[in-house]
């Protein structure tokens, strides 16, 4: 295919604004998939994704489209994840495209996350085609939304398409605009190979399969390749594209998008963002923008049953084959035994991994409260990174602690400015800026500690604005703050898995709330169990789980025995889900209690 007839594009949209549905319509219209074969939203193909209605893993598809000008075009639709946790992956997908559809809900208008992705797309010089979706809704205000796009983004909306992905309205027009407005790729077929890895997945027979966009040169079956950042050397066994089924080809040329297989056993060899080149005839410079995976959130994952440790290890290994941003290393907790410290891109990513471990691998897991990565400068000048509160050096040994801050962008109808400011202040946010993007909508920026965002900030934001607020944030650096380690003692013994790092001013309130929460979660045992929160040696809050005084059925005669046995079996099952810490049985939820306190 001539490069002039290739169009590489992606879709930028806020969650629920209809990205996946629009992708389905495009697939149908171009005949890539017959409508009867469509499982709703074909591009979201992980079970979890479909349940949550969000796209986590990227998918890409190669489409043929015969345009009104009579020419046949090759369209590569590159799907992007729709959650703030995955912004680096989004940036790499954008880098593989020349253009993007900017899908905005005609009733809801622009949201913070869309805006963040739009700016990212503009950074990559992408041609943006506004698509006003859901125009068939009674509350649709296409003209208002157009005006918003012009004012907020500064984008000309004269070429905007009014569409309804649900009914298929506008699909043809969108395809025509893609052909007309998005520039064809500009690469040099004769130059040494230079290709961008923008995603990968793991196939049990063929190893890790990277998805690539060829910038220059050709990627051929049988070639010897080199990954410029990881240094891995690979022999290509297969080259192909997704139609959406995998279709083998002889080569991928400059401007094209597809996949290759090279018996890659380690996903770390094919990190998203890396540059693929020819081993014998390499390109002089890799593509810019590569970034190793940087987890934002860490937590401990432990098997409830100690003997499941190896199963958990195997499961993490397998998941990592498909998810390079998951990192983990073994750790030992006094309370929980052997487990893993895992790093995630964000809380959603963490939740997804946990659910997959439980669902796909049948593991019964304990998860400790998430933590961010703190930077501690010790009195001897050494700087250490602490991703587990237990490991915080003693107060006497540290000079100061720094914690990661994010710049948060919140968009909200102006009536909710008050509650947002209150929430941000409560979360130690420092006000940055407020801007009216329309007469009724404002954009607020705050600098907030990441640790305050990762818990329930988003939920609180939604609930205090009737769901109208949208949030985007990016990490911007570390700041010194006054942090302390809050220890939790259960039955006089500190439980390492329950300790947390909190701001000094909040230590008392948190400690109190935490012990109250734990009192309600820890079932009564055969003895009184004191639960204490302490700063150093100083106990700042205490509750007691009173000893169990009655747990026996009074009557047990001929007709009661079966029922009784079943009750006891149930009771035993309940105990199985608890972790024995010292002589106390602590339920799984208790380790996440810190997340649920007000």
């Amino acid at each position: 295919m001539q490069m002039d007839n290739i169009r590489n594009f992606c879709i930028i949209a806020h969650i629920d604004h209809g990205k996946s549905t629009l992708a389905d319509r495009i697939l149908e219209y171009t005949g890539a998939v017959a409508s009867r074969d469509m499982e709703a939203q074909l591009l979201d193909n992980m079970e979890l994704e479909r349940e949550r209605g969000i796209t986590i893993k990227l998918q890409t598809v190669r489409l043929k489209y015969k345009a009104d000008d009579g020419k046949e075009y090759l369209l590569n639709l590159i799907d992007t994840p729709g959650h703030v946790d995955f912004s680096y992956e989004v940036s790499r997908s954008l880098a593989a495209c020349e253009g993007a559809l900017l899908v905005v809900d005609a009733a809801q208008g622009i949201e913070a996350q869309t805006l963040a992705n739009v700016y990212m797309a503009l950074d990559h010089d992408l041609e943006l085609i506004p698509v006003i979706n859901k125009v068939d809704l009674p509350a649709a205000d296409p003209e208002g939304v157009k005006q918003q796009i012009e004012e907020v983004i500064g984008l000309d909306t004269s070429e905007a398409v009014l569409a309804s992905a649900k009914t298929g309205l506008g699909t043809h027009e969108i395809l025509e605009k893609i052909v007309k407005l998005i520039p064809p790729p500009s690469g040099d077929k004769e130059a040494p190979l230079k290709a961008l890895v923008f995603d990968s997945y793991f196939d049990i027979y063929r190893g890790t399969i990277p998805y690539v966009r060829v910038i220059d040169g050709e990627l051929k079956k049988g070639a010897k390749l080199k990954m410029m950042n990881t240094g891995a050397v690979l022999d290509v066994t297969e080259v192909g594209a997704f139609t959406p089924a995998q279709k083998q080809m002889d080569k991928l040329s400059a401007g094209e998008v597809g996949y290759f297989a090279a018996a890659i056993k380690n996903i770390q060899d094919t990190r998203v963002g890396d540059t693929v080149t020819d081993f014998n005839n390499p390109t002089p410079f890799p593509l810019s923008g590569y970034r190793p995976a940087v987890p934002m959130v860490y937590c401990g994952l432990y098997p409830v049953e100690n003997n499941d440790y190896n199963d958990l290890k195997d499961a993490l290994e397998k998941l990592q084959l498909n998810d390079a941003s998951l990192i983990y290393e073994p750790e030992v907790s006094v309370a929980l035994g052997f487990g893993f410290r895992c790093g995630f891109l964000g809380l959603l990513h963490m939740e997804i991994i946990r659910e997959r471990l439980e669902r796909e691998y049948g593991l019964n897991l304990l998860i400790t409260a998430p933590s961010v990565n703190y930077r501690v400068t010790k009195t001897d000048g050494e700087v250490v990174n602490i991703d587990n509160p237990t490991k915080l050096p003693d107060a006497n040994d540290r000079l100061y602690i720094e914690e990661p801050f994010v710049r948060a962008t919140i968009m909200v109808p102006k009536d909710f400015i008050g509650p947002i400011m209150e929430l941000a202040n409560d979360r130690r946010g420092v006000f940055g800026n407020m801007e009216y993007i329309t007469p009724t909508r404002v954009m607020l920026t705050y600098e907030i500690p990441l640790s305050e965002i990762i818990y329930d900030f988003f939920d609180k934001l939604k609930s205090s604005t009737k769901g109208y607020a949208s949030l985007d944030y990016e990490l911007y650096g570390y700041k010194q703050t006054d942090l302390v380690k809050l220890d939790i003692l259960v039955n006089e013994q500190p439980v390492d898995a329950l300790c947390c790092i909190v701001h000094k001013d909040k230590a008392y309130v948190r400690g109190r709330a935490l012990v109250e929460k734990l009192r309600s979660l820890i079932p009564r045992q055969l003895f009184d169990v004191p639960i204490q929160a302490a700063l150093g040696n100083k106990v700042i809050a205490r509750e007691t789980v009173k000893a169990l005084r009655k747990d026996v059925l009074a009557k047990c005669y001929g007709g009661d025995i079966s029922r009784k046995r079943k009750l006891l079996e149930k009771q035993k099952e309940g105990k199985k889900r608890m972790k024995q810490v010292g002589s106390v049985e602590i339920p799984q939820e208790a380790f996440m209690a810190v997340l649920e306190i007000e």
Partner: protein, 373 residues
């Protein structure tokens, strides 16, 4: 095929004058079921005949006629006449408000040798609240009549942990029970069964019960009755030495028992089954079928669980040698970590070849039992 020996027979009489506010047993108001009542005795006898080919009743040790209220069942005496004679213990449950001297004397003469009165309380206000149709004086009269009629082995059932009941009130109840000088007392903590008027009232917040206090009352009952010469031979049962209820001990030993009548349950080795209710029960028998509503075949593992949690309810506990002989495994090996842990918690002891609950374990015995299921 060799017939299986039945050690105990339970006969359910599902008729009451009215249902008590806490009761979830299957029972029907007598006035609403004259037809079933008239037919009931012959049905029971026919049911027994259905089992005659499979089971051997010649070594039957105990019979227990329970309810409901057996003493309001008009054909009780003829029923007793048709039942096989047990070798050792024949109990009839009696309601203190509905027995007469003549009835007691006749039963005694026909071989009934143990009478169990559902007393529950000596407090007239409490009795009224529970929906029981007699007063304190009736209880004393009934026990007196039973003694006069020749019953030596008399038991009374008492209930504690009632809504609003204080420790003092319960101590007073026990004092009055002791004063009757009967050789056997059962003391049950109230169990709120769903669907009963009391459980509904608790749900609506109109009544409240205190489980912690009930646990304390259990320990207190043990002490107060011990001082009066009663031994706690099972979690809810107390007796003078030699007056333990053999029928109930058979349940806890997991001996074979057959239950006949509406909703009665049976257990023969690894087979448990429960009878139909109401008309369905009668129809099945009239058509010559066993009136079984549900049954289950237990695995060895389930039988082991049952054996352990049932026998641990008794003061003698589990005989380690017998257990090994029966199941071919050593319980101390099979549950070594559980037993070590329970011993460390002070809930279980090993004594003269028996595994027993400690005193401390009695009110929280499920914490022990659930380790073995």
């Amino acid at each position: 095929m060799k017939k299986k020996a039945i050690q105990s027979l339970y006969v359910h009489i599902p008729f009451c004058i009215q249902k008590c506010n806490y009761c979830d047993f299957v029972s029907y108001p007598l006035k609403d079921c004259n037809e079933l009542c008239a037919e009931y005795g012959p049905l029971l006898v026919k049911e027994l005949v259905l089992y005659d080919r499979e089971y051997d009743f010649s070594r039957l040790k105990t019979i227990y006629i329970g309810g409901g209220t057996p003493t309001i069942y008009p054909d009780l005496l003829s029923l007793i006449y048709y039942l096989p004679q047990p070798k050792s213990e024949f109990t009839v449950e009696a309601n203190p408000g509905t027995v007469s001297y003549d009835q007691l004397r006749d039963m005694r003469q026909m071989g009934v040798n143990r009478i169990s009165f559902g007393v529950q309380s000596f407090n007239d206000a409490r009795l009224g609240q529970m929906g029981r149709l007699y007063c304190r004086k009736d209880v004393k009269d009934a026990v007196y009549m039973a003694k006069e009629a020749g019953f030596e082995n008399i038991s009374i059932d008492m209930m504690y942990g009632l809504p609003g009941q204080t420790s003092e009130e319960w101590e007073d109840e026990l004092e009055q029970a002791i004063a009757l000088k009967v050789p056997h007392i059962s003391a049950y903590a109230l169990t709120l069964a769903s669907g009963t008027p009391w459980s509904e009232a608790v749900r609506r917040g109109e009544l409240s019960v205190n489980d912690d206090l009930a646990g304390d009352m259990l320990m207190h009952t043990r002490q107060q009755l011990k001082n009066a010469g009663y031994n706690q031979y099972e979690i809810s049962n107390f007796s003078f030495p030699g007056y333990e209820c053999e029928h109930n001990i058979n349940y806890w030993k997991r001996a074979n028992y057959l239950g006949i009548g509406i909703n009665a349950s049976s257990c023969i080795d690894d087979y448990r089954f429960t009878n139909l209710q109401g008309r369905e029960y009668a129809d099945a028998i009239n058509e010559g079928h066993k009136p079984v509503a549900s049954s289950e075949l237990l695995t060895v593992r389930e039988m082991i669980s049952e054996t352990i949690f049932l026998i641990l309810r008794t003061d003698r506990g589990l005989n380690l040698r017998e257990f090994k002989a029966q199941f071919g495994v050593d319980i101390m090996e099979m549950f070594s970590s559980e037993i070590i842990r329970l011993k460390a918690l002070g809930l279980l002891i090993e004594h003269n070849g028996y595994l027993q609950l400690t005193e401390k374990a009695l009110p929280v015995a499920n914490q022990v039992f659930c380790r073995f299921v």
